[in-house]
């Protein structure tokens, strides 16, 4: 007699886990972790952009020169850390977003796309940190 419905024991179900390959499961996990990194970096950016804009509009009241900015930022560990984290969040957030846009709007997927967005991530990180170092060190 074949069991049907809620009385069927779990053992008689097809072994679903085995059918999905290990690599595809790893890929699913990677996608979800990317999504999580996107959310977490967005949260950091939300706060960082606010602080950035508030500081700028406060600092430039009545005009400001490059020399005056540098006088405030040079040797400031606080600004170095703040903008260091800001750049890191950008370097995480932007490439993941671009990757999603490429997938959704251009139907572009695969290793080639991943290589490009990783390159964009490192470029943003390098350029951003270089600028932060130049202003704060």
């Amino acid at each position: 007699m074949k069991g049907v419905g809620p009385t069927t024991p779990a053992a008689s179900q097809p072994p679903l886990l085995e059918k999905e390959g290990r690599s595809s499961r790893g890929a699913v996990r990677a996608e979800v972790l990317l999504w999580l990194a996107q959310r977490a970096s967005a949260a950091v950016l939300g706060i960082a952009v606010l602080i950035h804009l508030a500081t700028m509009s406060y600092a430039v009241r009545g005009g400001i020169s490059a020399a005056e900015i540098l006088a405030r930022t040079r040797g400031s560990l606080g600004w170095l850390l703040f903008y260091g984290v800001f750049v890191l969040a950008v370097a995480v957030h932007v490439p993941i977003g671009l990757r999603t846009i490429a997938q959704e709007w251009a139907g572009w997927r695969g290793a080639g796309l991943d290589v490009i967005v990783v390159a964009i991530a490192f470029a943003l990180l390098a350029l951003g940190w270089r600028a932060v170092w130049a202003v704060c060190a």
């Binding site: 809620p6 009385t7 024991p9 179900q13 499961r25 996608e31 979800v32």
Partner: protein, 239 residues
């Protein structure tokens, strides 16, 4: 006002076809399904459409009425009519078989792909499971369980339209009820099946589904729940 007539434009044909116009007498408490039935019985015997229960239980009567996906048996003409005119088309985002009948196979295949089937852990020799109605999981499942599978959410979702692989609100909502079913034995496979860019992570929270669901379910909330559950599983290495 016995002279009151409805101007009704009905889709005839398959993927290609045209609207054809009919005049239907206006009646009190008339539903859109009443209008379609009138046309089929009196004016156009060849008109193809689906219905079964007429009381909002079976989910077979959904159509696009004046551009909006609706369950026609529970939609009064008064609610949908514009200038005494109704335009009735098959549901969007599904292949049209003929006239108002769509091919629902892909819609339901996606329920299967989302592992929308209960995987029992008990046998017939076990006693009934006792699930406390106050448990958070039970409440979450309750909020999503009344789906009748009409496809209105699927037809109202822009992500379904541009990403054909997307499982869609109904299948993901079903998966969410099972993720919250404490008797189910295969949460892990299900979470893996609903993650990624064909699954819950494709949702842009546009809430077309939640806006249109005739049962007032919020698939968007279910999908958000799946995002949280899959994130938790991914962090723990359980995906």
């Amino acid at each position: 006002m016995s002279a009151s007539l409805l101007q009704v434009r009905v889709w005839r044909g398959g993927a290609t076809g045209a609207f054809r116009s009919y005049e239907v007498p206006r009646r009190e408490s008339q539903t859109v399904l009443d209008v379609v039935t009138y046309i089929q019985r009196r004016l156009e015997p060849g008109l193809a459409y689906r219905f079964a229960c007429r009381v909002g239980m079976c989910g077979s009567c959904a159509m696009t009425v004046n551009g909006v996906a609706r369950w026609t048996c529970r939609t009064h003409v008064a609610k949908a009519v514009v200038h005494d005119t109704l335009e009735i088309a098959p549901l969007a985002n599904l292949p049209v078989i003929r006239d108002l009948v769509t091919d629902m196979r892909e819609f339901f295949d996606k329920w299967a792909r989302a592992k929308g089937r209960f995987v029992p852990t008990a046998t017939r020799r076990d006693d009934f499971a006792v699930v406390c109605p106050d448990r958070p999981e039970r409440r979450a499942a309750d909020a999503a369980i009344e789906c009748i599978g009409c496809g209105v959410c699927y037809a109202s979702c822009d992500v379904v339209r541009w990403n054909p692989a997307y499982l869609g609100p109904a299948a993901l909502n079903r998966a969410w009820t099972l993720v919250n079913d404490v008797r189910d034995g295969d949460h892990r496979t299900r979470l893996a099946a609903v993650a990624g860019d064909a699954g819950c992570h494709a949702c842009h929270t546009q809430m077309g589904c939640t806006e249109r669901c005739p049962k007032e379910i919020a698939p968007t909330a279910s999908i958000a729940g799946l995002k949280r559950a899959t994130a938790r599983a991914a962090v723990k290495g359980e995906l």
